[in-house]
Symmetry: C2
Subunit: 411 residues, 2 copies
């Protein structure tokens, strides 16, 4: 295609004044409506199995039946699970502010929390989740980037960093169907994480299993259980795990939860008890009644898979057809999760995103998936295919591919 | 009555093995059931007035119609209101941790937040709310007690303290139907608060209006609007206000919110945006649909008043009958709120609570309403009459009065 042909094609689309959003990991109405049955619950059934009236105060860290529902998602016991409010992000933020102000355990409280130990650092495998990085940035925590491949982060570098520098207090991990790359950590990577011996005794892994049950194939990848592996290495207190139903039921109307060793959870429960009297048990009950049990979640995720699989297939197909033959970018075909991470040629990401925007397609800002919004090679773009209906997604991806070509001066 | 008669009476009740709870400010089933109509909402009506689909991400600080519902409770505009999760206590805790880690405004961020300024202090009018004090204690904030009378806290002392000591960063206030005394701050006290000129430029009033609409009479006390008064004194950023529907609809299943100057709220919204993507809009919608508008809340509180008034009357009647003639204690008859604060004779509170406990009546621990659980005169007991049904409450108060007499060696 000549330059003028491509530009004509672009201008023609631009004139349609489209308004397509591929910027965030939001489900579409096609997914949220699958949970509409929850919207008139709990009705008259507001009593928990143990007789507790869920309309009143009490139960700090989650109803037993809600723990039974969510515990299998992370592979933990009730003692190792804390159910929070509507947001796992908030539980991560609170875990960090708590660690900063009071520490991570009774044993380390003498050191006064991270905030009293001078400047501290987190390791950030890249590309990663922008909201993880903005928590660190907002709290003045320095971020060290580490690269990733299809097996997970560069463990050689991580092992070296944490063993040498006791100002490194944490690392952000999205171990299954990672945001944005879609990769899942290999068993070896998980085991090496579990065996880390950080110099800082108040270091924690922030293990965000946001997409733990969000499979796109019928043969789901199995992530090794980090807490089990940590226990094997006498390292049980190393990890905080997080997940939520935001992308199972309703984003903002779901239930967030975290898991860790009983020792960690007891410390967190104690300090959480100063912060709140308890979380929203009625919403927990709503989820329990809607799903029945973990099998209900698995069946529900199959329905979501049916909606999302064609969207991911469409993105990959169009990328394969339009860009692969011309070496205009690389990507990984994810087996689950919410994103496709596109690595274009160096220096082209910002221009591509800008061209898309002018043609009515909003993408995540280029660089957003790097700490300080700084993609040193200016080449990564996160594609979020879940929100637009399939036909709109096709249009958006056509615009995306034209924009990539224009940004590469490829005609 | 002779000593042996009184002891016999006590032993007789003890043998009944009662199990009565007057320990916490919990509503009974007689109050929570008034909101049962909310339990099957929102049903199919999940779209906000502005077209927003409440089943998905978005809207950081509250739906416009939820702001319209709650703003009149605190007398503020939408810009001055932030709707949170299910707990106003959590908003208070978060306001403090945020102030500790990032500060209270763009202007004061250079100082690095309270946590970077050495040891800091809060003023605590006593008696007060135990959960306010335990937030301070858990975060290592020193508490300075200030006395209260029927008009509010001792303003002479407060004005002196905050003008001289820039390590004093806040004060806990429950300005209407105070926990536990039931008093409401006089107009003069509110105006003196609004005119405070603290030495610390990052000082804030923590103005907890937990009982703002919880009247027990048909001629409610009107609390002066602190934010309006602060504006008049060119002091708009001085105050954070808090409230929730915990004791309007469902404790733990309600909606918490806070209010402050637009300047304060903008700063909080910015940092709240790092903590969460947004709060539970479906629960906000549920409240909007159930109440219709603020008038619906007022009508609902009348129903609650009908349930609670006889309980408060019963407590006061029994105290008046059994203890007043013998100078065994003093109390204030509240016009609203959730508590009656009993001041016994010096040195008798712990023994009274213990005797009640042995006879099957659980009260709040003696001293709980003072910082560090330390009532220097060991005389205050918080009575929470809302949870027990009326007949049980009568039994509990009989036991209470017998216990007071025994603790005083009064026969």
């Amino acid at each position: 295609m000549s330059q003028s042909q491509l530009k004509n094609q672009y201008d023609k689309i631009k004139s349609q004044r489209l308004n397509l959003d591929m910027s965030r990991g939001k489900p579409g109405e096609d997914v949220t409506s699958l949970s509409n049955g929850m919207l008139n619950l709990p009705g008259d059934n507001f009593t928990a199995l143990n007789g507790f009236d869920c309309r009143n105060y009490g139960v700090l860290d989650g109803l037993p039946e809600a723990k039974s529902l969510f515990a299998p998602i992370l592979g933990v016991t009730h003692d190792e699970l804390i159910i929070g409010g509507n947001s796992s992000l908030q539980m991560m933020y609170d875990a960090i502010t708590r660690a900063m102000l009071v520490g991570v355990s009774e044993e380390t409280m003498g050191s006064g929390g991270w905030a009293k130990q001078g400047s501290i650092k987190f390791i950030c495998p890249v590309p990663g989740y922008d909201r993880h990085f903005s928590i660190c940035e907002s709290l003045g925590i320095e971020m060290l980037t580490v690269s990733m491949d299809e097996n997970g982060p560069d463990m050689d570098t991580i092992e070296k960093l944490v063993s040498e520098d006791d100002s490194i207090k944490g690392i952000w991990c999205i171990p299954i169907y990672s945001n944005p790359t879609g990769i899942t950590y290999s068993d070896e990577v998980v085991r090496r994480f579990a065996k880390l011996k950080p110099k800082a005794n108040d270091f924690r892994l922030f293990w965000d299993c946001a997409y733990a049950v969000h499979h796109l194939t019928d043969t789901p990848i199995k992530l090794l259980n980090i807490l089990e592996e940590c226990k094997k290495s006498d390292n049980a207190d190393l990890v905080y795990m997080f997940a939520s139903t935001s992308k199972i039921t309703f984003p903002g109307g779901g239930v967030g939860f975290m898991a860790a060793s009983k020792n960690n959870c007891d410390f967190i429960r104690k300090h959480m008890g100063f912060q709140t009297i308890g979380t929203d048990k009625l919403n927990q009950l709503r989820h329990v009644q809607f799903f029945g049990g973990f099998d209900g979640i698995v069946a529900h995720m199959k329905k979501i898979q049916t909606v999302l699989k064609p969207k991911f297939d469409t993105v990959i197909e169009i990328l394969e057809r339009e860009l692969a033959p011309h070496n205009l970018g690389t990507w990984y075909t994810p087996n689950g999760g919410y994103f496709i991470s596109f690595d274009g040629n160096e220096g082209t990401a910002k221009k591509t995103v800008q061209l898309c925007k002018e043609a009515g397609v909003v993408l995540t800002e280029a660089g957003a998936v790097f700490p300080y919004q700084n993609d040193p090679l200016n080449r990564n773009i996160r594609i979020a295919p879940t929100l637009p209906p399939l036909e709109e997604l096709k249009s958006a991806m056509e615009i995306f591919c034209i924009s990539v070509k224009l940004a590469n001066d490829f005609y």
